[in-house]
């Protein structure tokens, strides 16, 4: 007789305690508040959300972005959007350094509205390039891997052909499931493969899931 136990997911793969946890109780981020012990509220809310990402709870960044383009490198053959789209806009709402971490649509507790009076630790309430380690990309994305790119392997034979909206398991986004976004490489909730990579990058395995080199 075999008995299966419903073993819960290992905590090592949880956002709780990771660098994306800004809460007072378990926060593993250099940016940490004393204002709440809730973890999810910094990105999600069950009510009054916006649409950049599932049940999104943050104000959009008003920054003007410089996207990666052929003026950076003449070799790119796929099309890059004029602005970050979808889930990438969500990531940049913290990682471009312009929006405060507690600039939320719906505070913890009952009723909508932004929180107030939260205290943050010495690293502050927005991401800065001077905090070590720096994960701030800024609004100049020309020196970063292109995002909001329409993945089209027919334009460049050096790319793996996608299947069912993914490339070797890395997801593509958008209504047509063909956009490379930040979340194609990064799993925002899981820091097993730092920094929040979907797979380990030993031997550049993550790069080689899409790039045939």
């Amino acid at each position: 007789m075999i008995i299966f136990f419903n073993v819960p997911a290992l905590r090592a793969a949880s956002v709780v305690g990771s660098k994306h946890d800004l809460s007072s109780a378990t926060g593993g981020s250099p940016y940490k508040t004393t204002g709440t012990d809730q973890v999810c509220v910094f990105c999600h809310t069950p009510h009054f959300s916006s649409s950049s990402a599932p049940l999104w709870n943050r104000s959009a960044s008003a920054a003007t972005y410089t996207m990666y383009s052929s003026s950076v490198s003449a070799t790119i053959d796929m099309t890059v959007a004029a602005n970050p789209q979808g889930v990438s806009a969500a990531c940049l709402s913290c990682h471009d350094g312009t929006v405060a971490f507690d600039s939320l649509l719906n505070k913890p507790g009952s009723g909508s509205g932004a929180p107030s009076g939260w205290t943050w630790n010495a690293s502050g309430n927005t991401m800065t390039a001077t905090t070590s380690p720096s994960a701030m990309l800024g609004s100049d994305l020309s020196n970063d891997h292109p995002i909001s790119v329409t993945y089209d392997a027919s334009k460049d034979p050096a790319f793996v052909v996608p299947a069912s909206g993914a490339v070797n398991g890395l997801p593509l986004y958008g209504t047509l499931k063909n956009q490379v976004e930040c979340a194609s490489c990064h799993n925002v909730h899981d820091n097993t493969n730092a920094p929040f990579l979907r797979t380990a990058n030993g031997g550049s395995a993550l790069c080689l899931k899409c790039h045939i080199k």
Binding site: S73, A74, S134, L137, N143, D144, H145, G203, S204, K213
Partner: protein
């Protein structure tokens, strides 16, 4: 049945091996330590160079002397000679010029890499020294040192000559991008016009095998 399955598995293995036979992994441009990242020695997804126009370039240019190069010249060349290398050729010359001063060998030696593996510019960088240096010869290069004297090398960073400038050249299908197998970059001949840095199949990293000088005859109508 078992033999059939075995044969199928062997066929898949052979196909898989063949499919990556032209990969940079394991080539002379793979300077990684065992199990280490391969791409990071040239590329990074974040914080890439804003100075060198190669995709997501991961090398600093602080010690790169852009004016150290003596460019090719010839009494017969009809296209303009640039004053310094440009674009993708600078990426190649960053290792192959023999003058780009590496940073001093210290505990945080990064050999000009901007962003090591890991998070937020704080990662640890490991490289195979023997991939480029003679272990008994100190700092001596064992890789081809093309620069800084480029007078004895095929000209690069030159605009592909027009038919009016020189009828001795084939006209590419696209004046900016050249041919599909031998590309121009913004209309210029660069090191990657002839060399595919990731593909070791045709030594040394040629885009087209040069048997019978076929690569030369792609452009030169001789």
């Amino acid at each position: 049945m078992k033999a059939l399955i075995f044969a199928a598995l062997m066929a898949i293995l052979l196909w898989a091996t063949t499919a990556v036979a032209a990969s940079v992994v394991g080539s002379k441009h793979d300077i990684s330590v065992t199990g280490g990242e391969v791409c990071v020695h040239c590329h990074t997804p974040h914080f890439a160079s804003a100075t060198i126009a190669a995709p997501l370039w991961n090398k600093k240019s602080v010690d790169f002397n852009f004016d150290a190069f003596t460019m090719y010249t010839s009494p017969t060349i009809d296209t303009a000679i640039p004053s310094r290398p440009s674009g993708l050729s600078l990426a190649c010359l960053g290792c192959h010029d023999s003058v780009s001063a590496p940073e001093a060998a210290t505990a945080t030696y990064t050999h000009q890499v901007i962003n090591a593996p890991g998070s937020g510019l704080t990662g640890t960088y490991s490289i195979s020294c023997a991939a480029c240096h003679d272990s008994h010869g100190g700092s001596m290069y064992t890789i081809p040192a093309i620069g800084p004297n480029l007078t004895n090398d095929h000209p690069i960073s030159i605009i592909y000559p027009t038919a009016a400038q020189d009828a001795g050249f084939f006209i590419p299908p696209d004046l900016q991008k050249g041919w599909a197998d031998v590309p121009l970059f913004s209309g210029k001949v660069e090191c990657p016009t002839c060399h595919d840095v990731h593909d070791p199949a045709k030594v040394p990293f040629l885009r087209v095998a040069n048997t019978g000088s076929v690569l030369c005859y792609k452009c030169h109508n001789k």
